[in-house]
């Protein structure tokens, strides 16, 4: 009877669950293509044959050829392994760091908390793409640079979520009651903290992966990310853009793949601001 006069309008949890399933399916399909495609049709993403430039599909290249006569099918498959792999590595690193530091900040409080929060706030104020660009300029190797830069950008969100959730849980009567009953920190972690943090982390991981893939593609598109001839989603688009009139499908291939992958991840992340 709480709020009897103001009832109704509860959040519909089913829509979220449905969105997650659809999103996971989309992500699986795109990643599955990246992994399985080269096994189904043998081929190579780098071999050029200029006579076939912008040519239509054939048995060796089911999606046709790009402006240098390379198989789009194999380039796309390569691209769909590359950015997700970097994104996954960055999310894993950032997630671990964020969980650890967020938990530390919540449990210890005091100056540890204040210092970590200050670092996170400073990173929050700077555009992620800019930080990634700076790290790319420092690190040798583009893939390594992306991993390091994206990890640096992404851990902040995991940190903030872990810290906020942990603080709320640790201050709750439920934890107090468990402590009064003589349960130790391990029990509090397993039965109180982790069940609250895990779903939040899953959401943040999907969102973080989307952010990472967007960043890699965006920097590829403006020619400061992955270098040619590496097949990368954004780079493929900018390479094929001048041939839009002659070969619209060639440009649409990476566009559709990128959108499907990102849509899947956003659906998995669900309704979240930013």
């Amino acid at each position: 009877m709480s709020g009897a006069l103001a009832a109704s309008g509860a959040a519909p949890p089913r829509r979220r669950a449905g969105g997650f399933a659809v999103g996971a399916a989309l992500v699986l399909v795109t990643l599955g293509f990246g992994v399985l495609a080269p096994l189904v049709v043998a081929g190579d993403p780098f071999t050029q044959s200029l006579t076939k430039a912008l040519g239509g599909p054939d048995a060796a290249a089911p999606f046709g050829y790009d402006h240098l006569g390379r198989s789009l099918f194999h380039r796309l498959a390569h691209a769909l392994r590359l950015s997700p792999a970097i994104a996954a590595a960055a999310v894993a690193t950032a997630g671990a760091a964020g969980l650890l530091l967020g938990g530390l900040a919540a449990a210890r409080g005091g100056w540890v908390d204040r210092a970590l929060t200050l670092v996170a706030d400073a990173l929050l104020a700077l555009p992620g793409l800019l930080l990634v660009l700076i790290v790319l300029a420092i690190m040798p190797g583009t893939a390594l640079g992306f991993w390091a830069g994206l990890s640096l950008v992404l851990w902040v969100e995991f940190f903030r979520l872990t810290r906020a959730t942990s603080r709320a849980v640790l201050a709750s009567p439920a934890v107090e009651a468990s402590r009064l009953l003589g349960f130790g920190p391990l029990y509090v972690l397993r039965r109180h903290l982790w069940p609250e943090i895990a779903p939040v982390m899953l959401t943040a991981a999907a969102f973080g992966a989307a952010t990472a893939i967007m960043a890699i593609a965006a920097l590829g598109f403006v020619s400061v990310g992955m270098r040619a001839p590496t097949p990368e989603l954004g780079l493929m688009m900018v390479e094929l853009l001048p041939y839009w009139r002659e070969a619209p499908f060639a440009l649409l291939t990476p566009v559709i793949a990128t959108f499907t992958l990102l849509l899947g991840l956003i659906l998995m992340a669900g309704d979240r601001a930013r």
Binding site: A4, L5, A7, S8, A177, L181, R191, P195, E196
Partner: protein
Amino acid sequence: MTLLQADDVAVFDASGRALVHPVSLRLDAGAPLVVLGETGSGKSLLAQALMGTLPPELWARGRVRIAEAEHDAAQPQGFRRLWGRAVAVLPQEPWLSLDPLMRARAQVAEAHALVRGLAPVAARRAAAADLAALGLGDEAGRRYPHELSGGMAQRVAFAAARAGGARIVVADEPTKGLDAARRDEVARLLTRALETGGGLLAITHDLALAQLLGGRLIVMREGAVVESGPLAEIFAAPQADYTQKLLDADPARWPRRARRAAGPSVVEGRRLTVSRGGRALVEGLDLTLRAGEIVGVSGPSGCGKSSLGDALLGLHAPACGAVRRIEGVARTAFQKLYQDPVSAFPRRRALGATLADVARRFGRRRAEVEALLARLDLAPALLARRPEQVSGGELQRLALLRVMLAEPRFLFADEPTSRLDPITQRGVIDLIATLAEEGCSVLLVSHDAALLDRTADWRMALGGHGTAEAAGRAAPAVALGAAG
């Protein structure tokens, strides 16, 4: 004069199941009508059907006559223009019902301006007059809701609800979570509505409020009327068994708990000073809590009742003084019951799993847990559910069961029944009393003076600092009063 008449009003859910069976009632000018019932009795749904405010997934049937016009309960949109103009609806929790971003007087004035059509200046003047009549000056009118005390917010909401000129006042659970003093204040406020020939429909589970209001009474249970008639007559000689049970659940009617010889000291506080946020709430308190004894603690909210209990449990470090607990007893023998049991269990874990953890921790066998379930009148099926899926009374008893697995020697019960219905409340308090009889020392916090009077061996009133605290040095906050 009849202000409101309802004929055969019934409420159904989407599947067509009746939640409220047909009820007819009449509200006369100058005479309150009280609908009394517990959670789930359908009393609020009935009120919502009469005002056209049912949630969209429910629907109603029947005829309602308000202000000389007939309305069909099945067509809730027709009621809307009555709000503020014919019917004033008082909110359950006024401090949540005022716009947090608007000053108090503006929230009253807007009803004068937009509903009655007064010019802005006249509306402001009318609002100021309304508030002044309720003892709220200009300064209070300029405050934002978060700067108002609970009682002030209640009065602002009362003025705002009635500013549109409505003669009928509908109040749904107006005393939810209030202590006795505040409850009396609300009762006085509500009776004001009657002075000028208005009508009052009060929906409540609060027996004391019902008694203060008087008038006519309807008792509801499981969507049906159990009994109706003049309130004084029903309170004096109820006809239905259920009404009798409900009345008996009023702490004022409880038999006084038999005093027993107290055992040895379990927890002691010596020159204890407890503070929160740098403010001393309890200063220089000496107290001894003995085995088998229930000590009642009362006092206004924020006076340090909870902090004192937490200090005795060792959850909150006292600013000064010492807490001594009986030696040779495990720390887990010092336990706590929470006001909101839902927040005291892991949110996403089945209750049975949590209890199994505790049983294992204390080496209790499954059969012992089952025996306790039976003793606390809890269905084993509840164990498969999560905390928010069981009723407040059941969950509080499960919390008690969890505490009992730890074989407590001291229990701090922090308003354990303030969110429960009267009959359920009595059951939980009885169980706590049994625990005391078995030798546990209990510190029971409640805002219900009658409850403490009937239950506690002795009582302690913690006083608020009032205005003295602003001056710096506070007077001793504790008035030790042996009662009983």
